[in-house]
């Protein structure tokens, strides 16, 4: 879009917009509704449905001079074209006159609606979209009173076609606008649904196996302008007008997608108010108007019947329910008795307020709080993180993005989607990883390195950039990567933890920082480092001053008398910790569920789920965002920050405990980066483009408008002009090598605390397995699906093998959710189980 402005008249209103703007969008900006079905502001215009027909008058120009011709009255002469034209495919022109409300245009729309209704079943009373259906609304506004097509003669088509296990198609309702097909093709690049047949028979279908299997599939039901596509989660569950909406933030990954939770009182569950569906809420800097299927469908854990209902305390070696007073007193007593030898372990899914109070409490009793994580780089993000204007949506030609040791598709889906869009707009993409990733197809350069060597790979790119000749191995690869990055206006570097242990991760973060600096992008407002954290608020935890224990949890616990665990299940992630934990006299756990760790505790506090409370989370690119309560809390559960304040109270420590806003005030006062992040600031909004969420659902779909806050983007130290020198980092170390190395990988639908509880995603859950390359498999005499023994570091696990050509030779791949005591890559033996 150019800087040139064009002025035209639409329905009598003078509108000035950038040249190249489509008439529909120009009208929308001016608050004029031009109805559309096939057009969607995030998709390429196709002009198929013909709903947006308008009359267009163009200013007549003198052929010689190019100047507008004026009539006798001195007004420019306007020539109206005899035909109606589509406003969705026509860019504005200077001096044009567009009529959307003339008799001719209105008649045109009416006729199009009538055509659409010749196929449509008009089953609004039983349709899930009823009440938020563009076709229904536009029929009311623009349609004929009654179709002259005989209703009895309408074709009967299939009304329940499962396109996959999450999305169902009603063929009678489909109006062939192609939004879903184009979304999958243009935005996602997974064309697993398409049109088949032709003419009146045109239908949405899939020939892919297993059908409409795409992790963004739910978005198609948001942008479907009729009730043709519905999610199996929401189908027939509720009527849109019975729903209430509350703003939230997705708790699953560091992207921090803005959500709206729709709730309803459930007659069949004693009138309990429950979350009926999760919808995207617009934040163009974060998730635009999309969310992934994990965010959409994995919310059920929050309402799980397995949730902890009451505090528990250990009595005669069994955990029994207790009152809050009793549990709090026991906890205070246990902490006091530890005499300062207390270690707090918190997970990155807790909110900033929780983590802040956690640290205050732990330090208040003379102990220390650590992060249940080993991936490094939070401090790098504080110094060199994504700058104040680093918006993936603005990335395009002239910019570059490096993704190293992460598979964004699995770990941070919306980042994947947006990086892919940036690639389409011309940004250079470099992917560096040990395994093929879903970003490879759009990558300009792909750097493959031995698993675990991520830091070395980045160092090699740095050397290639700076002309250092010490790079020998596959130097060309690094030259190419360097060439793609060099000269880019701005660069974003996403780094993850593929194959890395704590030391490797720390080295990688350091090398990424060095690379950013060598590219001249340190401190630039659109550049920066973005850690791909395993949890939604790991960055917030760093910012609240929590760190992974430098020598590991086991070490940290070695001389502790008491431990306090919040929003983490260290025992599940590493059963090897059992020993270390049994050395601790007094364990307190604050949780949603009775986790493996909680089972060993002296005191267990039932925490509130994200749906029940307020708080704030900090994304991987360091935007602080607020979430709000949507359902009443379980009667006896309390918010983590509050439990901590109450424990503190019992110990005579003054922790902010009146409200999360009060905690945030204290954070703002003591964490310099968060100085501006008051709840008021976090709730600020400004107008966003495209405009969604009004009455005109036909335009942007059913994504919600953001009226609750776009969050506050933290500015990294380098951009503030402060010293950003990092502690010198260790250089990547040589690792042990063996013919077969065990590599744990992150998967979207891991089987953790949150996803596992959602029935609807069960079929997608990652199974315990080990994946091998066919060559390795045949060398080891292992067939697909055969039971095998995996042996490493003196440990053994029995799982089923998968033989996959996509696995690089020499690697045995296991999902992280298998709870192996495993960080980086380790030599492994895989053999057939006896």
């Amino acid at each position: 879009m150019s800087d040139l402005q064009v002025t035209l008249t639409i329905d009598g209103l003078r509108v000035t917009v950038p040249a190249g703007t489509l008439i529909v969008d120009a009208a929308k900006k001016a608050g004029i509704d031009i109805p559309v079905f096939c057009y969607h502001p995030k998709l390429e215009p196709v002009g198929m449905c013909r709903m947006c027909l308008v009359e267009i008058g163009r200013a007549r120009r003198d052929r010689g001079t190019g100047q507008p011709v004026r009539g006798d009255d001195g007004e420019p002469v306007i020539d109206f074209s005899p035909k109606l034209e589509t406003a969705c495919t026509t860019a504005v022109g200077e001096g044009w006159v567009v009529r959307g409300l003339s008799e001719k245009a209105k008649a045109g729309r009416k006729e199009i609606v009538e055509f659409l209704l010749t196929s449509h079943p008009l089953d609004c009373p039983i349709c899930d979209k009823g009440g938020e259906c563009p076709l229904q609304n536009l029929t009311m506004a623009h349609g004929p009173g009654k179709s002259r097509f005989l209703h009895d003669e309408k074709a009967r088509l299939a009304k329940h076609v499962p396109l996959g296990d999450l999305i169902v198609l009603d063929r009678e309702r489909c109006i062939q606008c192609g939004r879903c097909v184009r979304f999958q093709e243009e935005i996602v690049g997974e064309p697993v649904i398409g049109f088949s047949q032709r003419g009146r028979g045109l239908e949405i279908t899939t020939f892919s196996e297993p059908g409409f299997d795409s992790i963004f599939s739910g978005n198609t039901s948001d942008i479907c302008p009729v009730g043709a596509l519905t999610t199996t989660d929401f189908r027939f569950e509720a009527r849109p007008w019975e729903l209430r909406a509350a703003a939230s933030i997705c708790p699953h990954c560091p992207v921090g997608c803005n959500l709206t939770l729709n709730t309803r009182r459930q007659p069949d569950r004693d009138g309990q108010i429950t979350v009926q569906r999760v919808m995207p809420r617009q934040n163009e800097m974060v998730n635009e108007i999309w969310i992934c299927d994990k965010g959409r469908f994995a919310h059920h854990y929050a309402a799980s019947p397995e949730r902890l209902r009451r505090p528990m305390v250990r009595k005669s070696n069994a955990l029994v329910e207790a009152t809050w007073e009793e549990a709090l007193a026991r906890a205070a007593q246990g902490l006091r008795a530890a005499g300062g030898k207390v270690v707090g372990i918190a997970g990155g899914r807790a909110s900033n307020e929780d983590l802040f109070n956690f640290r205050r409490l732990l330090e208040g009793v003379g102990g220390r709080a650590v992060l249940d994580e080993w991936m490094a780089g939070g401090d790098h993000a504080q110094k060199l993180g994504a700058g104040s204007k680093a918006d993936l949506g603005s990335y395009g030609a002239g910019d570059a993005i490096l993704v190293v040791a992460a598979d964004l598709h699995e770990e941070a889906p919306i980042w994947w989607l947006r990086v892919r869009q940036a690639a389409r707009r011309g940004a250079k993409i470099v992917v560096a990883s040990a395994l093929p990733t879903s970003l490879d197809p759009v990558a300009n350069e792909i750097v493959r390195f031995p698993a675990g060597d991520a830091a070395l790979a980045v160092l090699n790119v740095v050397h290639a950039l700076t002309g250092d000749s010490t790079v020998e191995a596959s130097a060309e690869l690094y030259e190419h990567a360097a060439a793609a990055l060099r000269g880019a206006e701005d660069v974003l570097i996403f780094f993850g933890r593929e194959g890395l242990d704590a030391a490797g991760s720390s080295a990688l973060a350091g090398e990424c920082a060095t690379l950013l600096a060598s590219l001249g992008c340190a401190g630039r407002a659109r550049s920066g480092l973005i850690p791909v954290w395993p949890r939604s608020n790991t960055q917030g935890a760093w910012d609240m001053g929590l760190r992974p224990p430098s020598t590991g949890l086991k070490e940290a616990l070695s001389d502790a008398k008491a431990a306090y665990v919040m929003a983490a299940d260290p025992l599940r992630d590493d059963p090897g910790l059992a020993e270390a934990l049994s050395g601790v006299d007094f364990l307190i756990v604050q949780e949603l569920f009775l986790t493996d760790t909680a089972r060993r505790a002296e005191v267990v506090f039932p925490a509130q789920a994200f749906t029940e409370r307020e708080g704030s989370l900090t994304t991987g690119d360091r935007r602080v965002q607020r979430f709000y309560p949507s359902v009443p809390p379980m009667p006896e559960a309390r918010a983590d920050w509050r439990i901590l304040a109450e424990v503190g109270n019992a110990l005579g420590l003054a922790l902010p405990g009146s409200s999360p806003a009060a905690v945030m005030l204290e954070i703002a006062a003591s964490v310099p980066d968060y100085r501006g992040a008051s709840y008021g600031e976090l709730a600020r909004v400004e107008a966003q483009w495209p405009i969604v969420g009004g009455d005109d659902l036909y335009y942007g779909g059913t994504a919600y408008r953001n009226e609750q806050g776009l969050g506050v983007k933290l500015v990294p130290a380098a951009e503030r002009g402060e010293d950003f020198s990092l502690e010198s980092h260790d250089l990547p170390v040589a690792r042990e090598r063996a013919p077969l190395m065990l590599l744990p990988v992150a998967r979207l639908y891991d089987a953790g605390t949150t996803v596992g509880a959602s029935e609807i995603l069960r079929a997608h859950l990652e199974q315990a397995s080990v994946a091998l390359n066919p060559e390795d498999a045949s060398r080891l005499g292992i067939g697909d699906r055969e039971a095998v023994e995996v042996r490493w570091d003196g440990r053994v696990r029995r799982v089923n093998a998968r033989v996959r050509a996509s696995v690089p030779p020499g690697l045995a791949i296991v999902p992280r959710s298998m709870s192996l005591e495993l960080r980086g890559v380790r030599p492994v033996e895989v053999r057939r189980a006896e």
Partner: protein, 418 residues
């Protein structure tokens, strides 16, 4: 009668063989174009000839070529051999009987467009034609008439066939391109026009088979010669596909501007059994149907005159109806065709052709009420001016014009049904 320009095989037996074609000066124009003239000079000559596209729209061919976006390469040339308009069978005769003249035309067009690859998109039913053509292309490569470094210059040209698979809409140029790219044959938005963004997004020229077959004679004998035939604005000859109720259906290559009467009666032998002509579809099923009165019979068949008479010459597929033909039935037949062929992309055509057929069948079955005739007319008019491509518009023409000019045929059906 004008001489045969593209149906030269009618005089020259064996012209479908390369040897024979070469003996009759074949590929001389091509050689001369590549070795002696610039692409621009070829374009100028074709412009001067006044040749207009024979695929239906009648757009001046040389002018179309000059719209190619300058300095963007590669470029492509696509020959439109989809010939699927009911009543049109001229391209097939050229492809079968005078294939080398067509291929020489493709080559000349490619040179003018500075394209090094050309595709011949044949409707899927032309399977045998495609097999033959692959053989012809092989022999041209062997002879050095196609391939790399042609005639010692640095110009290369490869020509490939591509078979469709049964879809009238693929004759529409942008649907054709989609199909050639391996997608559903649904039209694209225009602009951008193919000359700017065509095949694979590159500047592309698309021409009809007959248009292309005219090129070698034009280059060989000059624009001035070409203009000695036809009319001022519609120069040259045209192959008229004559079908329906005539004694001698077939292709007739005549000067543009020849009257319907001459075609139907002098060449086609008139109406069988001495019956009277009732109506004429000058452009296949996509026609405004003209009543075959004396004025119409004396109308010259050139682009301007047929348009002035209220219809269009289109691809010049003249379907003749006689007094035994029921126009309500004709409207049903054309509606059935368009409903079958609508690609489904845009609402008015997808739903409208279905609805029209629904009503036309009801009329045809004698089950309609009088209002249904008006509804049919309304539905057809309601489609008009709203579609993404011309197919939807085409579908309405026979229906609206049949009701307007032959209402009695519809009304009597209604009466029957009571």
């Amino acid at each position: 009668m004008a001489e045969h320009v593209v149906l030269r095989h009618r005089e020259i037996p064996g012209l479908e063989r390369l040897e024979v074609y070469l003996e009759h000066g074949g590929f001389e124009a091509w050689r001369r174009a590549v070795t002696k003239t610039t692409p621009q000079e070829v374009i100028e000559e074709v412009k001067a000839s006044g040749l207009r596209g024979r695929g239906g729209a009648g757009f001046p061919t040389g002018v179309k070529w000059s719209f190619l976006t300058p300095n963007v390469f590669p470029r492509y040339v696509v020959a439109n051999a989809d010939e699927s308009e009911p009543g049109t069978f001229k391209d097939r005769e050229i492809l079968e009987r005078n294939p080398f003249q067509f291929l020489e035309g493709v080559a000349i067009c490619a040179y003018a467009a500075q394209a090094e690859v050309a595709y011949v998109y044949l409707r899927g039913e032309f399977w045998d034609v495609a097999q033959e053509m692959d053989g012809h292309l092989a022999s041209l490569r062997e002879r050095g008439l196609l391939g790399k470094g042609l005639f010692g210059t640095d110009y290369n040209l490869a020509v490939h066939t591509h078979l469709g698979a049964g879809a009238y809409i693929c004759g529409e140029e942008t649907a054709l391109l989609e199909s050639l790219e391996g997608k559903l044959g649904q039209p694209r938005l225009r602009p951008p026009f193919p000359a700017a963004e065509g095949l694979y997004g590159k500047p592309t020229v698309i021409n009809n088979v007959e248009t292309l077959a005219n090129l070698p004679p034009i280059l060989a004998r000059g624009a001035a010669w070409y203009r000695t035939m036809g009319t001022e604005k519609s120069p040259g000859t045209k192959v008229f596909s004559l079908s329906g109720k005539v004694v001698r259906p077939g292709n007739y290559e005549l000067a543009l501007g020849t009257t319907f009467r001459e075609l139907i009666f002098s060449h086609g032998g008139g109406i069988p059994d001495g019956r009277k002509a009732k109506g004429i579809l000058p452009a296949g099923a996509s026609s405004v149907i003209l009543p075959a009165d004396e004025r119409i019979l004396d109308t010259p068949m050139d682009y301007e005159a047929v348009q002035a008479a209220g219809s269009a010459l289109g691809s010049a597929s003249v379907i003749v109806l006689d007094e035994t033909t029921d126009l309500a039935w004709v409207a049903m037949k054309t509606s059935r065709f368009f409903k079958h062929e609508s690609c489904g992309k845009c609402t008015p055509c997808r739903e409208g052709t279905y609805w029209m057929l629904h009503l036309a069948e009801r009329v045809e079955r004698g089950e309609a009420r009088l209002e249904d005739i008006d509804l049919l007319d309304t539905v057809a008019r309601q489609i008009q001016g709203k579609c993404l491509c011309a197919l939807g518009e085409f579908s309405t023409m026979p229906v609206v014009s049949a009701i307007a000019s032959f209402r009695a045929d519809f009304a009597s059906r209604v009466a029957d049904g009571r």
